[in-house]
């Protein structure tokens, strides 16, 4: 059933209903070999539900998903044998030693005895745990645990990997090392799907898919999204007093959104050039001292918030 040219992950009009509630509303997507795709979206948007369907853990209500060449509704077992899954809080057993965890997962994934030794040393190497096989997993620092968990999830060399908030709370250096590993695997042809809240993490993905209320609202490379998906321009406003300025700006007609950021305000306007002088005047007239107003590049978070706000508004309208 496998066609080497077909994308490893295909979803067509995927739907999941829980009673009256539509959790996933006709999602269409494809992930290519060696691609790292990130799923972003608020809690309850349908990310986890979508991933679970793709993993063969949840039966779709309608639509179709083909993962690793198998239909998730008809042959979920086969799908599960060909994918790797790493969850947020690392499903490692804290009271087992490192090597015991590896062997446990190896047996779960039916890693054949002939290649077991080789895979074991591969995981130990990748996680930097050579010489630490007998350490109790619970005593490992989180960065190492995370890499070990990743290793255990790919012992059977799956061609598709699902990661669920894999680096939350982990220190930045370990996170960067982790993502190096992911990119290396991707370079070898593994397709990686990630769900995350972390905007930092989203930057590591080749492509992002923004899910809101069960539907895909935006899709593209991080930089691309930052450039075109933002409905409007982002301005940095440094002024005093901040509280008054915020109130004023929120009442100004052209201002789409205004939020405090430390010692300054981030303001979304339709057009930067037109807005800058207008805002300066509006604020100074009310007694606000303005030190700086300049356009800044939106972060992924700004994009995210702007898109979901737009969706929310559209929904209410």
């Amino acid at each position: 059933m496998t066609n080497d040219d077909a994308p490893p992950v295909i979803a067509r009009d995927l739907v999941k209903r829980f009673g009256d509630f539509v959790a996933v509303d006709r999602i269409n997507l494809e992930a290519q070999r060696g691609e790292v795709v990130g799923f972003l979206g608020p809690n309850g948007a349908g990310k986890s539900t979508t991933i679970r369907m793709l993993c063969g853990l949840l039966r779709p209500t309608a639509g179709q998903a083909i993962v690793a060449g198998y239909d998730v509704a008809r042959e979920p077992e086969r799908v599960r044998q060909r994918i790797g899954y790493m969850s947020q809080k690392f499903s490692l057993y804290n009271d087992l030693r490192v090597i015991e965890n590896i062997r446990f997962f190896a047996s779960l994934y039916h890693v054949p005895a002939s290649v077991l030794k080789e895979r074991e040393s591969w995981v130990l190497d990748m996680a930097g745990l050579n010489g630490r096989e007998s350490t109790l997993t619970g005593t490992l620092p989180s960065g190492w645990k995370q890499r070990l968990a990743l290793g255990c999830a790919v012992l059977h060399r799956p061609s598709i990997l699902f990661l669920d908030e894999p680096t939350s709370g982990v220190d930045p250096i370990s996170r960067r090392q982790f993502w190096e590993l992911i990119h290396t695997m991707a370079a070898e042809g593994v397709t990686v799907l990630v769900t995350t809240h972390y905007m930092d993490e989203a930057e590591y993905c080749n492509r992002l898919v923004l899910i809101f209320q069960g539907r895909i609202v935006a899709s593209g490379a991080p930089t691309e999204l930052k450039q075109r998906a933002m409905t409007g321009a982002l301005l940095l406003v440094e002024c005093e007093p901040l509280g008054l300025a915020l109130d004023l700006l929120q009442q100004t007609p052209d201002v789409r959104d205004a939020a405090v950021f430390g010692n300054a305000l981030h303001v979304v306007v339709p057009d930067a050039n037109a807005a800058i002088p207008r805002l300066r005047t509006a604020l100074s007239q009310q007694g606000v001292t303005v030190t700086k107003v300049e356009p800044i590049r939106p972060s992924l978070e700004d994009v995210f918030v702007s898109l979901t706000a737009a969706q929310g508004a559209a929904g209410k309208a």
Partner: protein
């Protein structure tokens, strides 16, 4: 004005681990102070000690004018603590939860009703007063936790990773509520592993293995980074990175989803050099510009400098 929170050599040890190592910080009224660092840096331990629920091994801390180590109970009436697993009673409604905490802190009824209305309004939760707390979404639970923490007009608010796992939209609502409190002269200390949240604080302490690396305003923090950060957006990031490997002036190269982030010693000088190098290698790229450094860049530079490869 005296500091709302002041610690001196605050230390806490657990078996095999020095969790907090002679911490010294000060937080002033009307300020949001961020305690930033990854898991295991000592954030939760510090916040717990300041809340008076964990006894330090040595050192002292004054919170809201009281010695939290010697006389924690007096301080607790003026402090608000929101732990990571905040204390919502899932089988009580929103209203009942608020009432419980209000009564525990002795808030008179009229006060409670007015303030509760005000806070719930700000949180966008005024429609949900009779809903069971257990049935709220993650973001709303967080906001309710905050409302319960604020109902008694504390002078100091201690938040331990309050936005953990919460989506960005709810996070913004959360921050909006926090900022609105500053006008009342409240001091807020919050811990977070989200480095980008540090940007929203007035001052930030970067914690690493129980010690403070830096303690400054976010703007000043970034000046600590030696060099500049460049962003290269290209269709084949790995090849770009390989091509620029070993180039003079390059301090670090990080693969991201659609390109490479480079740390160089001098942006103005290196940008044209790098462009030339890439063209020479025949690699296409969409952009090569200087970008603002993030706190993460600083953190990585600082921690890899101090002890080479991190945990």
């Amino acid at each position: 004005m005296p500091a709302a929170i002041a610690t001196s050599d605050l230390t806490k040890r657990f078996p095999g681990v020095l969790a907090v190592d002679r911490l010294r910080i000060e937080v002033h009224p009307g300020e949001i102070f961020g305690l930033v660092g990854p898991d295991g840096a000592g954030k939760t331990t510090t916040v717990r000690m300041l809340a008076g629920v964990l006894t330090p091994d040595s050192g002292s801390a004054m919170v809201s004018g009281f010695d939290i180590v010697r006389d924690p109970e007096s301080a607790k009436a003026h402090i608000s603590y929101m732990p990571q697993r905040f204390g919502l009673y899932e089988d009580l409604t929103v209203e009942e939860n608020i009432r419980f905490y209000a009564d525990v802190f002795g808030v008179p009824r009229a006060d409670r009703e007015q303030r509760s209305r005000q806070l719930l309004d700000a949180a966008g939760m005024d429609q949900f007063t009779t809903r069971l707390a257990g049935k709220l979404s993650g973001g709303m639970k967080q906001k309710l936790g905050l409302v319960c923490a604020l109902i008694h007009r504390p002078r100091v608010i201690l938040l331990d990773e309050p936005t953990n796992g919460v989506d960005p939209v709810s996070r913004r609502d959360f921050w909006r509520i926090l900022y609105s409190l500053l006008d009342e002269g409240i001091a807020i200390l919050m811990s977070t592993a989200y480095l980008d949240e540090a940007e929203r604080c007035h001052r930030v302490a970067l914690l690493h293995q129980g010690r403070i690396l830096f303690c400054e305003t976010p703007a000043k923090l970034k000046t600590h980074l030696k060099g500049a950060v460049l962003s290269v957006v290209a269709p084949y990031p790995r090849r770009v990175r390989a091509a620029l490997d070993g180039v003079e002036g390059m301090l670090n190269a990080l693969l991201v989803g659609d390109g490479v982030h480079l740390v160089v010693d001098d942006a103005a000088r290196r940008i044209p050099e790098l462009r030339a190098k890439l063209q020479e290698a025949g690699l296409s790229f969409d952009r090569l510009v200087e970008v603002a450094p993030t706190i993460e860049d600083l953190f990585v530079a600082a921690t890899s400098g101090t002890d080479g490869k991190s945990t």
